[in-house]
């Protein structure tokens, strides 16, 4: 085997709560896992602020601190971390073969996919044109540039509300623009949002264009259309933070693994097994329902336990629908 190749019994791709938890369990099972961190080591928690719903902490903890602890725990029990990004994957035979951005090859007897999800964008050409010139998906990174200014947050879920609350502590005013007439965010976050004097909510408005000036690109606002009567309106702002959810990060597996609607990796019922024996998926890359740090961690644990059983020779569960006759008695 060349020095440009690493082999492991369990290869974990992705480094959020799912990947780190899988690493903790796999390492403790004596499987000497390798974990490839990817572009955003730590995942989405690294750009969140207060985490108040992860059990075990009476007071709010910071997202980056929480994932650092998970990583340190995974490291202490024997995980080998690699700072690389997987560029291509071949799951057609075992060992599975994955290639890093630099050409390093990883072969593995089992694979745990925990690549998570990446921020969804509006998909407007003007959004791309003003990227880095007032358009952002990271309030904790770019809020700094909007002290005393007006910013728009687009979205209605937890991320949008958390970003709006974070930005309200920096900017002079925050306008939350949402295409529906209610928010999906947790009630406690909604209450904080509505009570904040610096935050205004514009309902039933779909952002259609980001507007601004060129050279250097500078945002001056957005054009939004009322979803009820179709009327357009200009909402002036110095910055636009897009927080309309996340899409599963599955590009590198395209065409090789079965997916669910929305592109999430399909797993067997009550299992993390994908349709390829030996390949498991955990966290936001497969979870189209819960998408919480704690559920991702739980699935990471399941994936490691299932990989261990698979390596010991057990048949993995199948993603095919359960036998119709195999139901609990009513």
């Amino acid at each position: 085997m060349s020095s440009n190749t690493s082999h492991s019994k369990v290869l974990i791709v992705g480094s959020g709560p799912a990947g780190y938890t899988a690493a903790i369990y796999a390492a403790r099972a004596g499987l000497a896992p390798i974990l490839v961190s990817g572009l955003e080591p730590g995942g989405q928690l690294t750009i969140t602020t207060d985490v108040e719903n992860y059990p075990g902490f009476a007071d709010p903890v910071q997202g980056p601190w929480l994932v650092d602890q998970m990583k340190a725990q995974a490291e202490r029990v024997g995980t080998r971390f690699v700072s690389d990004t997987i560029a291509s994957v071949d799951l057609s035979e075992r060992p599975f073969r994955l290639e890093g951005d630099d050409g390093h090859v990883y072969t593995a007897d089992s694979l745990i996919i925990a690549t998570g999800a990446k921020a969804r964008w509006l998909g407007l050409p003007s959004e791309t044109a003003f990227m880095g010139g007032g358009v952002s998906a990271c309030a904790t990174c770019d809020g700094f540039f909007y002290r005393g200014k007006t910013v728009i947050v687009v979205g209605g879920g937890n991320t949008a509300v958390e970003e709006a609350l974070f930005l309200a502590g920096i900017a002079a005013s925050v306008v939350l623009v949402h295409r529906r007439d209610s928010l999906r965010a947790e009630k406690v976050l909604q209450e904080r949002l509505f009570a904040h004097p610096a935050i205004e909510v514009i309902w039933n408005a779909r952002v259609e264009e980001i507007v601004g000036t060129q050279g250097p690109p500078t945002v001056t606002g957005v054009v939004a259309r009322d979803t009820r009567d179709g009327a357009p309106r200009l909402i002036p702002a110095d910055g636009v933070f897009v927080a309309i959810g996340h899409a599963p990060a599955t590009d590198i597996f395209a065409g090789q693994l079965a997916t669910k609607p929305g592109g999430y990796l399909k797993t067997a019922p009550d299992s993390t097994a994908t349709d390829i024996p030996g390949v498991f998926a955990a966290g936001d890359v497969t979870d189209d329902q819960f998408r919480q740090a704690i559920t991702a961690a739980g699935q990471g644990c399941m994936a490691a336990l299932e990989a261990d059983r698979f390596l010991a020779g057990a048949q993995p569960p199948t993603t095919a629908p359960a036998d119709a006759g195999d139901r609990a008695a009513s």
């Binding site: 630099d102 770019d142 700094f144 540039f145």
Partner: protein, 107 residues
């Protein structure tokens, strides 16, 4: 060993003055997680491409005058500068290959 020059308003013009090599500048902040994620990649680039480019970085908390003058509104941002013109501006923490490509294209 990677040589990444820490730049501020006083040292930035001198860094750009020598046009013999392409200049690469990373704008970052201590509180920006994607910025710290990019650091190992950036240092590896500086190591590998030392012959064809000079690498610098600007801490926007310490030198907001530099980032402000260049219209930086997002961190991390990596600028690739050829002569006096920014030929590429890469926002966010990206794969090493995307920086390699932009820098090689500028050389």
């Amino acid at each position: 060993m990677a040589d990444v020059k820490s730049l501020n308003a006083a040292s930035f013009p001198a860094f750009l003055a020598d046009h013999s090599k392409v200049k690469v500048v990373r704008f970052w902040a201590t509180w920006c997680r994607p910025c710290t994620m990019l650091e190992p990649t950036y240092e590896a680039l500086a190591d590998e491409l030392a012959d064809i480019a000079d690498f610098g970085e600007v801490d926007i908390d310490k030198a907001s005058d530099v980032s402000g003058a260049l219209g930086i509104r997002s961190v991390p941002t990596v600028l690739v500068i050829k002569g006096t013109t920014a030929v590429a501006s890469i926002v966010g923490s990206n794969a090493k290959s995307s920086y390699l490509e932009a820098i090689r294209k500028a050389v």
